[in-house]
Each structure stands twice: as C-alpha cells, then as structure tokens.
Amino acid sequence: MTVVRWGRRAVLGVMGAAALALAGTPAAEAQGLEKTSIGVLALASSGPIFIAKSKGYFEKEGLDVDLKMFTSAQQVPVAVASGDVDFGVTGLTAGFYNLASKGAVTMIAAQSRDEPGFQLSAYVATKAAHDAGLTKPADLKGKRIAITTVGSTFHYMVGLLGQKHGFTVKDVTMVAMQDVPKMVAAFKGGQVDAVIAPVTVARQLAAEGSGTILGWVGDETPWQLGALFTSPKTVAQRRPLAEKFVSAYLTGLAEYHAAFNAKDASGAVVKGPGYDELLAIIAEATKQKPEVVAAGLPYVEPKGKLLVDDIVNQVKFWQSEGQVDKALDAKSVMDLTFVK
C-alpha cells in the first residue's frame, strides 16, 4: 500500500513539474516579443504564413504570432472584424467586400492567384453532359453548375468565365449546395451538368470516371484569389506592427515562390530551392500528406502585389449581382502602402 501511495505521489509530482515546465517554456521564449494573431485556413494557399512561422521570420521581426485555424473562408474576415484575430489570409468572397464596405477589413498584401499553368480549380463536366457535347469551358453557357454558396469564389469564377466568353451568370443556372461534399453529391447524382471543383476533388472525380476535366480556372481566367488583410483600426493605431508582419510575410512569400512557382524554359513547373523542406512544413501545418499538398500548390506573386484591376472587377461584379452595396468604392477595400 505504501509503495502504491509513494508511486502515485511520485507520478503526481512528475506530472506537476512537467506541467510547470511546459507552461514556462513558451512564455520565457516569447519574452520581449509583441503578441499578435492571424486567422488562416489549413490549406496550401496559407503556405507563406506557415513558412514564416516555422522558419522564425515573425520572431526576427519581434512578433509572437498565434496561428488560429478556421474551416471556411467566410469566417476569417468576420474574426478580423470582431477583433478575435489581428490579421487574416484567405480567398476573397462577397462577404469579405460587405465587411470591407462597413469599414471592418482592408487588404494589405496578396495571397495566391489563379495563374496559367497552376492547377487549383477545375471545370468538371458529368459523364452524361460530356457525352452530350460539353467539352470545353466556353460550352458552360446555358448549363446547370453546382457552386458552394452565393457570393463564393466559385460564383465569381463562373462570372469571370462569362466575361471571357460573352455570357452573364444569368445565362447559367447556378445551384448553391453550401459545401463541397453536397456539391459532389449533386454532381454524382446527375443533378447538375458541371461543377467548379478544387484540384483534389476534380482529380478524384476524373479518376473514378464520373466526370471529365474541361479545363483549369488558372489557364482560362487568371485572377486574385486571396489576400492578406487586417482591420483599418489596426492600420491606423498599430501601423508598425502591421509593417513588421507584412515584412515577415513577404519573406515567407518569396521563399514559397522560389520553391514552388519556378518554371523551366518550356513553361512546366519545376522544383525550386528548398522544395522538400518547405513542402514538409506546409504538409505538417495542413495535416496532409506531402504528395497531396504538392498536387495543389497555388501561385503567389513574390512581392505580394495585388492584381488591382481584378479586385476592382470583383467589386463591380458583386455590385452588379446585387450582393455588395453599390456605394462601395472598389479602391477603398485595399491599402497599397504596405507592399512596394
């Protein structure tokens, strides 16, 4: 009995000491660093942030950055607006512009782009629709297309495709399915003619024979997919913090670009310096296998420059769709003073 009790006490003691040690280390390490936080999605498009965090670029700027993971692009700007996080980095949706029109968020640097040669999102036709003659993206006019939600990036991609091929979103029937699994269910059930699907889903549909990939959004209509943003309040009151944050972010961005966005003379994407190391960092942060991450690495502009014309086009598109306040000035949603 005494042995048991001694043992239990010893165990408790060790546990207590371990807890103290665990609680103590980061606090000691983070001393003198300014605390800040960013909302991200566990996707390869957040890669530059994961790299900057893992390789200590934020710490070099004197920042202790807490990464808060979110599950949908809609939630991140809301968290920035409510002050739960200082920064956010995700895809741009109509919801983002509505928050921007109320002065809650502003873009300060670019995230990923849809760019020729980079396969992020595909137009996929069902087998039946393909057999009936749906063979290229331009044929999507007049078809039924499943999207996630009204105001999503997929919604804008359909609009962009229309702008290129001379039709409007009124010429297609968009069916809002709320999320990707339901979108896939509608696709497999033959309820729609096509979907715009993320690369992993598109490849899976093609591999199992239920769909045919018609083309890639990056090849068809390059556009500014996402951005790094913060609240105008942070810019006004804590500008030095924002500048340091952007500086570390751009270091990660440049490294990401060098490793994953390099092309050879023929235009094919090749492995750049540090490829394996950076891929391992992103794989760990997104909790996915490296080969899965490698299949969908988006393009980033190495200096973090936004495609200003496309942002203006996005705002105009949502306004013409009646989903964003007509009074919003497109230039007011971005602050171009951080990225030179």
Partner: protein
C-alpha cells in the same frame, strides 16, 4: 387586514384581536391575464436595442438596429421577394410536415395498440431518431435529387420520429379502466378506438404537433441548403454567407413570426378539438 397600516410601534401579529378575518393566503402562483405586460416587454426590448445603436454602443455590423431590420424587411416586401420566399418555404413545410405527421401517426397508432408493432418499433425509433438529418443531406441528394422531394424528405423525416413518440405515448396514457370498461360492455373494437382511445390520446398528439411544427421550421433552413433558389431558409443562408446581418435578422424574424402564427393556429385547434375536457 392588509389594508390596516402598521402605525407607530408595530405589534406582533398574535397580539391583535383574534376576531379579525383571515385573508386567503393560498393563492399560489395564480396565472392572471397581463396582456399589456408582454407587449410592454417587447417595446422596452426594442427600444433598448435601437438605442444601443443610436448611441454608438454597438456597431451596426454586429447587431443591426431594429430600424435596419425593418427596412430590410420592407424592401423585401416591396420587391415581392418576401412572398416568393414565403410561398416556397410554406409549401415545403406544409407538404413535409403533413407527410411526416401522417406516417408518424400511423406508425404511432400501430405501436400504441399492437404489442408486436411496439416491440419492433421502439428500438427502431430509438436507433433512428437521434440521427442528425443534416448529416444525411448528401445521401438525400443522391436518393431524392436536389428538387423538392429531398426538401420534403428532410422535413418529413425530422417530423416523423417525434410524432411516433408523441402518438404512442399519448395512447399509452389513455386511462386503462375506461378501455377495460368499454371492453366489458362489449363495445366493438373500432368503436373503442374512435370513442375512447382517439379522444383520450388527442391532447398528447396535439402537444406533439406543437413540437413537430417547430422542428419543421428549424429544418426548413437545413432543407433549403440543398440548392434552393427561393425560401426563407435559403434567404437566411445567403444573407449569412454575404455577411448582410440586417437581412439575416429580417429572415430570422420572418421565421419566428411563422412560428408564432403556427402556435396560435394550434392553440385554436386545441380549444376546438378538446372542448370535451
């Protein structure tokens, strides 16, 4: 007695004259009609809500003031989209609820009366009731498509199980001695069912309706996740995705007004059908 004020040095009660009449104290928490109280509470709540925005305590984004919600609602009523949304949702709620209720009552009656049906049914209901219908939406899409049938099915399934439970426990609670008496008087089986079991179970079944009507309202939002263009649920989802908080609350307000209307209709129904009590 309560009218005599205690003046000067207050005397202990037992020192007063014993012939005094004793006030009736056993009132309990008697329910009295206070029509104005509920109305006043609403008015005060809305006034406080509006003033938090007017004085800049809360940003309009986080909690749109009632005036913004009202103008969003007015805009919907003006361009006719409100009726389009209401029509679509009411049709889905109506058809889904009736389907779920008819099937649920049939099964509930079978389980309440037949012991074999109950032996089979109780574990099955226990197994299927807790399945979240929203988790099944992708399957419903494959089975029923993305048209109206999958929406009816979502609401119908949600309504079915609570109706089964309400019906068979209502039948269970019909006084046994009444049934035994009717049996010993030699009443035919159908007559017992119609004259004793059905009226006896009706209060319980109607209480079940109250719950299932609310479940149908909750599920219409889930059902309209499935590629719905019109409908109050689809409207609320879109407003949420677009971060248009005033429209979001306007849609929620319509849903809760629908709930209030259905509740009132059920109260009238209860009063009519349960007059015999």
């Amino acid at each position: 007695m309560p009218d005599t004020p205690l003046t000067g040095t207050s005397l202990p009660l037992q020192d007063r004259s014993p012939s005094q009449p004793v006030r009736f104290r056993g009132g309990g928490f008697t329910v009295k009609g206070h029509r104005w109280a509920a109305l006043l509470a609403f008015v005060v709540l809305i006034a406080v809500w509006e003033s938090t925005n007017r004085f800049g305590l809360v940003s309009e984004l986080f909690l749109p003031p009632p005036s913004a919600v009202a103008s969003a609602l007015a805009a919907m009523a003006q361009d006719g989209s409100l009726w389009q949304h209401l029509k679509a949702s009411l049709m889905r709620i109506g058809v889904g609820w009736v389907m779920g209720t008819v099937a649920g009552m049939a099964v509930g009656f079978a389980m309440g009366i037949g012991s074999v049906a109950r032996a089979v049914g109780v574990p099955l209901v226990s197994a299927f009731f807790p399945i979240p219908k929203i988790a099944l939406l992708p399957l419903f899409i494959l089975w029923f498509g993305i048209g109206e049938p999958s929406k009816f099915a979502t609401i119908g399934f949600g309504v079915f199980f609570p109706t089964v439970i309400a019906t068979y426990s209502a039948i269970d609670s019909v006084p046994r001695n009444l049934i035994r008496m009717a049996q010993s008087f030699g009443l035919p089986w159908a007559s017992i069912l119609r004259k004793i079991v059905l009226p006896g179970a009706l209060p319980g079944i109607l209480a079940g309706f109250r719950i299932t009507a609310s479940i149908a309202l909750i599920l219409v939002v889930a059902a309209e996740m499935i590629g719905a263009e019109y409908g109050i649920g689809a409207f609320v989802l879109t407003a949420g995705n677009l971060m248009l908080t005033d429209q979001l609350l306007a849609g929620v307000l319509v849903l809760s007004l629908l709930g209030l209307t259905i509740g009132t209709v059920l109260s009238i129904l209860e009063r009519r059908l349960l007059k015999w009590r």
